[in-house]
Amino acid sequence: MALDKLDFEKLYNQYSELVYNLALNYLQNIEDAEEITQDVFIQINNSLYKFQEKSSLKTWIYRITINKCLDFIKHKNSKKRFFIFGKKSQNEFEINNVSNFEHPGIVLENKEKSKLLFEIINELGENQKTAFLLSKVYGLSNPEISEIMKLSISSIESLIFRAKSTLKEKISNKFEEYRKKLN
């Protein structure tokens, strides 16, 4: 059973910014984030009747968005692998353009630094990446993140701690490259 148009529009107005920005932080590409936003609201429209109020609607929407982003990344990676085995000349363009960094929310002067940060964030494991993004970029509290990710608060604390350590280590390893570029 789908929602009627008016209710759906209300829901969209209330949560579209949240979904879009979360997808943008996850995928760092405007087109991809728009695609995810469309997919998320289609799923909401089709399965809102299944929503049991065990968690808040907002938490449920966060979960759908994160799952859609993870599926999207998996699909993209499998495509990449396929292209690597396929004809290179035709698909080179597609490989190189899979993840163009486009994040309109970032201040222009920080763009290069953020690009590097997101490159390293993208190398983190799924859970570490999700916990870090929700905590650092979205400013959610650990209990809120634990509800969204269905993990204990201590697990979330550990995920964020490990994510931060890995990021710091990988960034400092890049410092030499950065210094060479400057000279």
Binding site: E17, A33, Q38, K168, I171, S172
Partner: protein, 86 residues
């Protein structure tokens, strides 16, 4: 020291990030996709129903033809029994 400062700068580079509203046309696109999906699903329901009906009618026809075939076979066998050369 420089490395540490640089690392911190990178780590803090997402500070002051702004929330961006999605494209104003996105809602219409979603509506279109929802409507399209309903149309497609109706079409597929019809195709599935038609296939199912066709399958059942073929089965019935086959069953009927096999019973008539067995009847003819018994008739043939009785004829051939009575037409023995000796």
């Amino acid at each position: 020291m420089k490395a540490k400062n640089w690392t911190n700068e990178i780590m803090e580079s997402t500070n002051g990030m702004m929330k961006i509203p999605p494209n104003t046309l996105l809602f219409d696109k979603i509506q279109k996709r929802i409507n399209l999906k309903t149309k497609v699903s109706n079409k597929w329901i019809f195709v599935a129903a038609a296939t199912f009906a066709l399958l059942i009618s073929i089965n019935i026809k086959l069953l009927k033809s096999s019973t008539t075939k067995s009847n003819t076979e018994t008739v043939i066998s009785t004829i051939s029994n009575t037409n023995l050369l000796y």
